[in-house]
């Protein structure tokens, strides 16, 4: 009996030891072999298919390079943070938060993309080419752009009120009042999602205060209590008065982004306009009763003063954790108009490259919104995305929360500015 037990114990010990060694050696250190590239990124579904179509162009030209793309969707930041901490990052990654590029650059995890400078300068507008530049080196490359300076409207609501798509901000405000008198609130605001509000502020701020101030505010070298911020908030406040909003103030605060879109894109609209991003039609595509152009349409965010053709935008950036000849070739390829044309033709895409011709976009609406990015006189990245995440990118705190408070009480301009400043100061301090 005793012997028996000993044998079992010994056996167990051996098994355990074997298991432990197996565990320890399960993941042999993988050397990035020239000739194979793995990419992780935010694109899923149709976007994933389209990106693979773009990669196919590269695969055809470089049959010896094995390129694989894995979608990590919304979890990308977590996946990357874990992979980098574990010492096994992917070769390339696409992210929608430029703050991540900064974070990883600061941690020394990124390889610079200076080798793609020539391609960038040849294909990108100057404002977009410099987006991923940190301390004089290129670390991020905008691959998929987004135009956030778009206003969507219900054509028949505009017709009933006799309002035309406005070109200037005063005409925009006048139009909003006329729409209100016609019996339909001017705006549907997705106030439950804070970014819809920060985008509106940023559009006003970029045009009113100008790109220099915008850059300074995005680096927090001027304060949120600056006169220019106060002025922009005061310009924004009249738009957010309860009577202008579908569902009034408290309704708007509980309206999420998709609902705010369908409020406008229906036959009996609850509001005439939505001040939102270029992907709006995709949001309601499946259940949309209205046809593009004749039922709903889009106009660029109206000019303030002389600031015409200004675009506030965003997009997904590519960053590299490794540097091999194969990776260099792929990065350069992705920055060309040729590669981006493949995606543009498939739709749901805004090319950051100016070398993509407007005619390749599949429909009129996309042509309007997408080509505005390449043609922009001034292009600036979404300001809240450039902030530390605790201030500019977290639900329920920082900018999102405070702009929702502003929507709740648009007359409290100085109070909100003060709170924005103190939240920003705190976030910048913690980030260091």
């Amino acid at each position: 009996m005793k012997k028996h037990r000993l044998v079992i114990a010994a056996l167990l010990g051996v098994v355990l030891l074997a298991a432990m060694t197996a565990f320890a050696s399960a993941k042999p250190a993988k050397k990035s072999v020239s000739g194979s590239i793995n990419i992780v990124g935010v694109w899923t579904g149709d976007e994933e298919k389209s990106f693979n179509a773009v990669l196919d162009g590269f695969r055809k030209a470089n049959p010896d390079v094995k390129v694989s793309y894995k979608s990590t969707g919304d979890n990308t930041p977590t996946v990357l943070a874990t992979a980098v901490a574990g010492g096994k990052p992917p070769d390339l990654a696409s992210v929608s938060q430029p703050g991540l590029v900064n974070d990883f650059q600061k941690k020394g995890a990124l390889k610079n993309l200076d080798y793609a400078r020539g391609t960038l300068n040849a294909n990108y507008p100057a404002d977009i080419a410099k987006i991923g530049v940190i301390k004089g080196h290129v670390y991020g490359l905008l691959i998929k752009g987004a135009n956030k300076s778009t206003v969507w409207y219900n054509v028949s609501a505009f017709k009933n009120a006799g309002v035309k798509a406005p070109l200037t901000f005063p005409a925009f405000v006048r139009g909003a009042n006329t729409l209100k008198s016609s019996g339909v609130p001017a705006f549907s605001v997705g106030g439950a999602d804070g970014w819809t509000l920060t985008d509106l502020f940023e559009n006003i701020y970029l045009r009113q205060a100008g790109p220099d101030k915008y850059d300074k505010l995005s680096k927090h070298t001027i304060k949120w209590t600056d006169a220019s911020v106060i002025k922009a908030l005061k310009t924004m406040a009249p738009l957010l008065q309860g009577g202008n909003l579908a569902g009034g103030t408290s309704g708007a605060l509980q309206t999420d982004f998709p609902t705010s879109v369908s409020n406008v894109f229906t036959k009996k609209p609850k509001a005439a306009m939505g001040i939102e991003d270029d992907f709006v039609p995709d949001v309601v595509a499946s259940k949309n009763a209205l046809k593009p152009v004749s039922g709903y349409n889009v106009f660029p965010f109206p000019a303030i003063g002389r600031a015409r053709n200004y675009v506030e935008g965003g997009g997904d950036e590519l960053m590299a954790f490794k540097d091999t000849p194969a990776i260099r070739a792929l990065v350069k390829y992705l920055a060309t108009g040729k590669a981006q044309t493949i995606w543009a033709k498939r739709g749901g895409y805004t090319a950051p490259a100016k070398t993509v011709s407007a005619s390749v976009y599949p429909d009129e609406i996309t042509r309007t919104t997408a080509s505005a990015v390449g043609k922009a006189k001034v292009f600036r990245f979404d300001l809240s995305d450039l902030q530390p995440a605790s201030f500019g990118g977290t639900v329920g705190q920082g900018e999102f929360k405070l702009f929702q408070d502003f929507l709740k009480n648009p007359s409290n301009v100085t109070g909100i500015a003060r709170q924005l400043e103190s939240a920003a100061a705190k976030a910048y301090k913690a980030g260091k």
Partner: protein
């Protein structure tokens, strides 16, 4: 456990080899998956956001800054307060409601069906429950079921007016939707009144409305018109124009200089009205408030002030079934004779419940209560899925902020760890209580 070793037996290690062999896999897993991460989290909570993660964290040592932040940042303090509300309300409410249900189901004939229905929410994931309740709580009564029900009752009591969205087009009409609108400038017999309204959707204009006609003065009478003072482009405010429609069926009243209503009428198809033989003096025509009675706009269940109670209600809805079943099992185990004895001694039903049933159920009740306490401390998914973005921070509890500060955008593992440690400290006393109970029962 083993008595003094008989002489001649193998050494300590060999004697315990079997025990070690059997314990090792579990111990190994425990150390790797529980002990090490716990220690790591505790240490990590003293480091800043940018610390380097390794076997142990290094760089950017922060001391107790994270703990300071936990008790000084307003949204984190809100989360702590909310957790306190949850702890005070939810376990007690779940236990009480479960008890009531359990006792009631003993007395109804369709107990099985009732139990099945009350227990059913347990089969739904908390996240899905949250989504369901979020939709039911939506403020717009045309979307949210809860407000639709309240709205149906309310509009039955006070029906909404025909032109509930309308407002005056010029300041000449004063008042509010609650009091109705009155022409500010008094007029006398032979005068005309222009009462333009705006903000009326084309679909709200009553059918049969005709082109508005400017009112003509009439001897001894007050004439006027109520019309939709809007045409595409806006038109001239305060002037009846071609392309603008009169509003038929609007209830108009005429008050004299003392404010007393002397005549009532309704407007015709072109919006016109006439008050004949008004006599001398000055008058103010006005539109009755009932025209503007707003339909029920909905209660802001998801707004900042009601969000925590709203989430707790949804949570109780889920867990009441669990409490009912457990307490019901305990109830079934109570000896009927004791209850009968009490009744024979002349106790009322309430006394039997209060003095016999509840004390005998005490062990079961405390199991339910403690289980719910622990459950409430880690409540997470239902909060995230019910609260819209604008009230996420008003609804957040400790576990939600632990996730949000570490993974939900901020990526500050230091602060996240500090919140986790705080939560851990809160759970410990309850765990100890539970362990002690188990010991006693064994």
């Amino acid at each position: 456990m083993v008595a003094a070793p008989p002489s001649g037996e193998p050494g300590v290690l060999r004697r315990n080899a079997v025990a070690i062999g059997f314990l090792a896999p579990a111990a190994f897993l425990l150390i790797v998956m529980v002990v090490y991460p716990t220690i790591y989290t505790i240490i990590r909570s003293f480091f800043g956001k940018d610390a380097h993660e390794g076997f142990l964290p290094s760089g950017s040592f922060a001391g107790i800054d994270n703990y300071k932040a936990l008790f000084t940042t307003s949204i984190l303090v809100t989360a702590i307060k909310n957790s306190a509300i949850w702890i005070l309300v939810a376990p007690a409410a779940v236990t009480a409601i479960g008890l009531v249900f359990a006792v009631l189901t003993e007395r109804i004939s369709w107990a099985v069906g009732f139990k099945a229905i009350v227990f059913m929410p347990m089969a739904i994931s908390l996240f899905a429950t949250g989504v369901i309740w979020h939709v039911m709580y939506i403020k717009d009564p045309s979307q949210g079921a809860v407000n639709a029900a309240i709205g149906a009752v309310k509009s039955w009591v006070t029906p909404p007016g025909a032109l509930s969205t309308a407002s005056p087009s010029t300041p000449a009409l004063t008042g509010s939707p609650q009091t109705g609108y009155v022409l500010q400038k008094p007029i006398s017999a032979g005068g005309t009144a222009l009462m333009g309204l705006t903000a009326i959707p084309p679909t709200d204009v009553p059918s049969g409305a005709k082109q508005v006609v400017p009112p003509q003065p009439k001897q001894g009478a007050v004439t006027g018109v109520v019309w939709r003072d809007f045409k595409p482009g806006g038109g001239v405010v305060g002037k009846p124009e071609q392309g603008e429609l009169g509003l038929p069926g609007v209830h108009v009243k005429l008050s004299d200089s003392s404010g007393k209503v002397v005549q009532n009428t309704t407007t015709g198809d072109d919006g016109s009205f006439t008050f004949d033989n008004v006599g001398s003096g000055t008058f103010k025509p006005g539109i009755a408030a009932s025209t503007f009675a707003a339909p029920f706009a909905g209660i802001s269940w998801l707004g900042s002030s009601l969000i925590t109670p709203s989430v707790i209600i949804a949570y109780i809805w889920v867990w009441a079934g669990f409490a009912m079943v457990v307490i019901g099992a305990g109830l079934a185990a109570i000896s009927r004779e004791v209850l009968e004895a009490a009744r024979t001694d002349g106790a009322t039903e309430w006394q039997v419940f209060r003095r016999v049933t509840v004390p005998m159920l005490a062990p079961v009740l405390s199991v339910v209560f403690i289980t719910m306490l622990i459950n409430v401390l880690k409540v997470f998914d239902i909060v995230i899925s019910i609260a819209p973005g604008s009230t996420q921070s008003d609804a957040a509890v400790i576990a939600v902020q632990m996730w949000r500060q570490s993974f939900g955008g901020v990526n500050d593992f230091g602060l996240g760890s500090a919140i986790a440690v705080f939560l851990f400290l809160l759970v410990i006393p309850i765990l100890l209580l539970n362990v002690r109970r188990f010991r006693r029962e064994v």
